[in-house]
């Protein structure tokens, strides 16, 4: 000891906290057993979870993946795990998963929906990830036609000739608005495009196809099914409804009384009735509302009604985005002397839509789940297919395995999308700070 002093010149090394406050025990005390109520809740939760797993796990794992029919499967399980064991017949999934994914789409052409799906992700990426090159938006614009061609096949000239309609419209707008003003230009462009589609497009496609026949084998709509069908209906519905929804939202915010009442009336009507009644309209009434002799297949009719349905919900989402925008933005646009459309296009909508993206994604999740309703009007979506698989004499009596598979796939899709939307929400929040 060099010197004896009353004052310490060094710190006492901190003592370890009591055993009950740190580590696993401390954590458990703080988070699981902080009071009698919490303790009871914890024990009940643990007991419940254990019970569910105890009941579920043997069923899931004492299963058969190889059998070719229910009877075979039951026998295999009894043989492997003893009599009276209730196991899952995952074999039905092994045999039918392709059907649940693609419906009756010809097996040698599975690359077409696969490619369409991959291209869809590519087309979506510039919209979802703002730091990708803007040029990719051109691909997104062409993608719908490409997707249609890939999925349904037929001549490539039909989508091209329809696409040409937009070119025709663009030229008419450019020509006429230079000479006679923007409004007239837009009207003439729209009219020209519609006239082109109705009278020239199919003729042009026919002629071009006769000259240069390029095309894929045609696949009729009746062969579409499974998750492919759900995805087609969901994605087409949401993307077609986006422009309509934006127009409705703008209309609802507009000062023009008549425009506003038409928009409000439409939105409230669609939001007031269940989707299933709209699907009934698609399956039984739509043909009655259209000119005599008009006839197109059920999937298209369903897509039309689903689009109308989604556009009303999207309109509300976009309206929320518009409402969240500070009034200063509108006023700033006005003070710059921009007219209504310019201020909307250049200032208001880009910001409002950005805020609305999480809402749009959750609308899409809702719509995607709702596509299961088409099974009620006889389309073979995953739920509809479970019925037809159960009607097969080999798999008569299977219930849980099919539902579990369909539910699991839906869960994976919807859960990842909802996580993505939450991620977006967080990113948008930091952007504003």
């Amino acid at each position: 000891m060099a010197h004896s002093a009353f004052v310490r010149d060094g710190l006492i090394a901190p003592k370890p906290p009591p055993m009950t406050e740190v580590g696993a025990i401390g954590w458990m005390r703080a988070n699981l057993f902080s009071g009698w109520l919490n303790s009871i809740l914890t024990l009940a939760s643990v007991a419940g979870t254990v019970f569910v797993f105890y009941e579920l796990l043997p069923w899931m794992f004492q299963s058969s993946w190889t059998a070719n029919s229910v009877a075979e499967c039951r026998a295999a399980i009894a043989g492997a795990h003893g009599d009276g064991v209730n196991g899952a017949c995952w074999a039905v999934i092994r045999e039918r998963y392709l059907q649940l994914l693609y419906g009756f789409y010809p097996a040698n052409m599975y690359w077409r929906p696969n490619l369409t799906f991959v291209l869809m992700l590519v087309a979506l990426s510039p919209i979802l990830f703002p730091n990708l090159p803007r040029k990719m938006l051109w691909f997104s614009a062409v993608y719908p036609f490409l997707g249609y061609f890939l999925l349904w096949g037929g001549t490539i000239w039909l989508p091209i000739s329809i696409l040409l309609g937009f070119v025709v419209g663009y030229f008419l707008i450019a020509l006429n608005s230079a000479r006679m003003g923007l409004l007239f230009g837009v009207i003439s462009g729209a009219a020209g495009t519609v006239i082109y589609w109705i009278y020239i497009a199919s003729w042009f496609a026919q002629v071009a196809h006769d000259l240069i026949p390029i095309g894929l084998t045609e696949v009729e709509s009746a062969r579409f099914g499974g998750f492919m069908l759900s995805t087609i209906i969901g994605v087409t519905g949401i993307s077609c409804s986006l422009p309509i929804g934006i127009m409705l939202a703008l209309g609802r915010k507009s000062d023009l009384l008549i425009v506003k009442s038409i928009c409000v009336g439409f939105i409230e009507f669609i939001r007031g009735v269940p989707l299933i009644t709209l699907l009934f309209v698609a399956s039984t009434l739509l043909n009655i509302f259209l000119p005599p002799g008009t006839n197109f297949d059920l999937i298209l009719r369903v897509v039309i009604m689903v689009t109308l349905f989604a556009s009303a919900y999207l309109a509300e989402v976009v309206r929320g985005g518009l409402a969240a925008l500070p009034t200063g933005q509108f006023e700033a646009a006005d003070s710059l002397g921009l007219d209504y459309w310019k201020s909307m296009r250049l200032i208001v909508l880009p910001q409002a839509l950005k805020i609305s993206i999480p809402g749009i994604v959750s609308t899409f999740i809702g719509l995607y789940k709702d596509t299961t309703l088409v099974s009620i009007i006889g389309l073979l979506d995953p739920v509809g297919l479970t019925t037809s698989i159960r009607a097969d004499s080999a798999w008569n009596g299977i219930v849980w395995e099919l539902y579990a598979f369909v539910a699991a796939v839906f869960f994976v899709f919807c859960f990842s999308m909802s996580r993505y939307s939450m991620h977006l929400e967080r990113r948008l929040q930091t952007d504003h700070n």
Binding site: I162, W197, S239, S283, P292, I377, T387
Partner: protein
């Protein structure tokens, strides 16, 4: 997929022909018959794993395609539910409906359909668990009954129980698979539908002997193909294709020997039917050898029956009242003359 579908809607609207025009010309122009069938009823119409349709009703569609276009595969199928079938026909979505549909007064008149005949005489019956010890439908007072909806079934059932002053608990069910599940787990005591459907369901159960089909038949269900009101030529074709199938069985013309017999036989009616004598085909706007195509497509009525729903199939239906009139049944065709 922004605008494609709207656009193609417009395009297709432009392309689509007038459904109200003569159906025959329409069918010839597009090159196939659009046939409405059920969404899946074993033996009558069901798609296999590759999506190819087969069954008793499907065979009639193929026969029509053979008669009109000479090719039994020139047919496309539209699955219809009980709700959509009549609108599909009325709106021109399908050219013909072969979907075990009961011929009733109001469907024929009020709903403006034309039934071309009866291809299967059915009747509503009951199936119940043998363990309940029920031997007659009159003992079903208070029972819970699974009904497949969308047909005349629920009406017959209501009438039967009302007429016999009994009560029951109806459990309406959309599909046969669902009904099976509920019936097997005894969520209902009784399953009621057409007897053909009951037989098919019972045959597919694990222990058919545990289930009894009660003897009562509480309704008449003449099932037949139908077409739109107002196109007599198309209705005539449907009617006489069906009659040709029946007459073929009566005269012993089969898919195997039809070509041989078409060369000419000693029976003038066979000759008229197969076109080697007279010119019946042109009277309904078809080729003279239309019936040859019809019969070679899937055989005569008896062959179609046996192949799809007959006693050698899993459905295992007896001919019963659906035997030819010459065998004491009700299947009867007007003469080809």
């Amino acid at each position: 997929m922004k605008r494609t579908l709207l656009v193609s809607a417009v395009a297709i609207a432009g392309l689509a022909g007038m459904a109200t025009a003569a159906t025959l010309d329409d069918v010839r122009a597009k090159g196939f018959v659009q046939c409405g069938v059920s969404t899946g009823l074993v033996g009558f119409a069901a798609p296999d794993a590759d999506g190819n349709w087969d069954g008793f009703d499907v065979a009639f569609c193929r026969a029509m395609a053979a008669a009109v276009l000479g090719d039994p595969s020139a047919v496309k199928f539209t699955p219809t539910t009980g709700k959509t079938r009549f609108t599909a026909l009325a709106s021109g979505e399908v050219d013909l409906l072969a979907r075990n549909t009961t011929w009733t007064f109001s469907r024929d008149t009020d709903l403006k359909q034309t039934f071309v005949g009866v291809n299967y005489y059915d009747g509503q019956g009951f199936m119940t668990h043998a363990s309940l010890g029920v031997s007659s439908a009159h003992e079903l007072d208070g029972a819970t009954i699974c009904i497949q909806t969308g047909t005349t079934t629920e009406l017959n059932l209501a009438d039967f129980f009302r007429a016999n002053s009994m009560s029951y608990e109806p459990v309406p069910i959309e599909t046969n698979a669902e009904a099976r599940q509920q019936y097997l787990s005894e969520a209902c005591d009784v399953y009621t539908t057409d007897r053909s459907g009951l037989a098919a369901t019972r045959a597919s159960l694990e222990n058919p002997d545990d289930h009894v089909v009660l003897p009562e038949i509480i309704s008449k269900e003449p099932l037949g193909p139908l077409v739109r009101h107002g196109d007599d030529q198309w209705a005539d074709i449907g009617r006489w294709v069906l009659n040709a199938l029946i007459t073929a069985e009566e005269k012993g013309i089969t898919a195997a020997n039809v070509v041989e017999m078409a060369a000419g036989t000693n029976d003038p009616e066979v000759n008229r039917l197969l076109g080697s004598e007279g010119d019946l085909g042109s009277m309904i706007g078809l080729n003279s050898d239309w019936a040859v195509h019809v019969i070679s497509a899937g055989g005569n009525y008896g062959e179609i029956f046996e192949r799809n729903i007959g006693s050698d199939t899993p459905i295992g239906l007896e001919r019963g009242v659906n035997a030819l009139w010459t065998d004491g049944g009700l299947i009867y065709s007007p003469p080809f003359r």
